[in-house]
Amino acid sequence: MDPSEVAQNAIDAAARGSFLALVALGVALLFGIMNLVNFAYGEVILAGGYAMLIFTTWFLDASVWPLLIIWTVVVAIVFALAQERLAFRPVRHADPTTMLVTSFAVSVLLVNIAIVVWSGLARPVEIGGVTLEQFTAGEIRIRKLDVITLGAAAFLLLSLTAFLKRTSLGIQMRAASEDFRMSQLLGVPANRVIATAFFIAGILAGSVALITVGNQGSSSPGMGLFPLIFGLVAVVLGGMTSLIGAVVGGFVLGGLIVGLEQGLATYGMERFRDAFVFLAVIVMLVFRPQGLVVGRAIRERV
């Protein structure tokens, strides 16, 4: 492989990785606080996608993109908070299975509402030429959207880190994700930290929706599923218990996907990419079942 090809792949992997890191963060944040793998999280992304469709067909066109971004993220936040309030709060004290089934039910319900309203087909979203624009430097082509993805991911990661490290609500969030019961015994209100987790997950999901629709140029009922599954795999790779792990898992998975696409293309087997991705993840977990980053279960010295 010549250097420009290596650089090209590195850029692709970074863009793919940062996208997956964003999804994984949302999944890991809710898992950390509630011990819930929220399968309906994909449908918060879905809500963001259809919000973009509504915006571009009914209100304005995508040239007023700052408004489009705000609108999409706000709709995603509203959906995330509504999920918490209407679906998960009533079953919070039930056992984990109940919460898991609830999340499946919410997911199926929302996907089917999307199918009833917008049909099962992908609906094109007019978002202008941003998907096609690219910079070229020698033989390296950089898509503008990849740059935006990287920038957005960096901005969100840094903001989230600052929030978690510097604010008292952020410290309460970290405490609750490490030991929820103890945080309650110190007076951290359960409702507040859980709602905050869903709020942040909503921001992340809205951003993921913007990037997804930017990539595929359309919204479809299945658009939440792919990011959710790969985001979940990234979280598992990262070790389930830390947000840093989720980000690391996202980037590793992004690199793996791009590497496999390249490698398999030479044999004409790129259609089997996902099978090989999951195989690689299984093999990794056989040798390192605790994931790449070990979080919660630090042994205490006596």
């Binding site: 309650q184 110190l186 979080g295 010295r301």
Partner: protein, 235 residues
């Protein structure tokens, strides 16, 4: 100050507490001793409104704490240092202490209390920026107590603070409790260390399989053959 009346707690079909009654008066140190599985921790968790209660009542300063959210109970003045300390390993010592003051709004008074905690446990001041998981077990116990004190509780409940600690460290923990008692702090202490508890407490309850078996002052109990046979022989 704290009045537990006919408290019944069930875990599924298991009766953890079978109608116990217990009282803690202001300024008192009350010890509860008993073997593993007697229901000691359950009693404290119920008093902190952290687990549901089947029957009976728990009143703090005359008003029930049942049906309160746990954060409200902290605000009313009850702090629990749970069994196993439960410090936040990945957070720094400073952040752990800050969390202790979650319900406080009086920043100046919190600062005073921090200074008092550092007086009590100077070691914590040195490790402020260190992840709490790096502390030794004894230091973690001090952090857990310091964190609870930052809520400025009027009733401090401790669940087996000596658990898993070396004897010298246990001495240190009980010295601290003695110091706290001198400041007039009301303490409800659950322990398996019968002797040390008898030395510290004004009154002691013995809890066994969910019921209170004996109660009285340390002097009463020390002379009670039933008690001596059960506890002092093998601790």
């Amino acid at each position: 100050m704290l009045a537990i009346e006919n408290l019944v707690v069930r875990y599924g079909s298991i009766l953890a507490l079978r109608g116990i009654s217990l009282e803690v008066n202001e300024g008192e140190v009350v010890g509860v001793i008993g073997p593993n599985g007697a229901g000691k921790s359950t009693m404290l968790m119920a008093s902190a409104a952290a687990i549901p209660v089947a029957e009976g009542d728990i009143r703090f300063e005359g008003e029930t704490v049942l049906k309160e959210r746990p954060e409200k109970v902290v605000e009313r003045g009850i702090s629990l240092v749970p069994e196993g300390r439960h410090i936040f390993h990945r957070l720094t010592v400073g952040e752990n202490l800050e969390l202790g003051a979650t319900t406080r709004t009086d920043a100046a008074a919190v600062e005073e209390d921090r200074a008092r905690v550092f007086e009590l446990f100077p070691i914590l001041k040195e490790y402020l920026g260190t992840p709490a998981g790096k502390l030794s077990g004894g230091e973690q116990q001090m952090l857990a107590i310091g964190r609870a004190l930052l809520a400025r509780p009027r009733l401090l409940m401790l669940d087996e603070p000596s658990l898993g600690l070396a004897p010298v460290v246990i001495d240190r923990v009980f010295e601290t409790l003695e110091q706290l008692r001198k400041t007039g702090m009301t303490i409800l202490l659950v322990e398996q260390h019968a002797e040390r508890t008898l030395d510290l407490a004004d009154r002691v309850y013995v809890l066994r399989t969910g019921s209170i078996e004996l109660a009285g002052t340390p002097e009463d109990l020390a002379g009670n053959p039933q008690f001596e046979k059960a506890f002092l022989g093998f601790v």
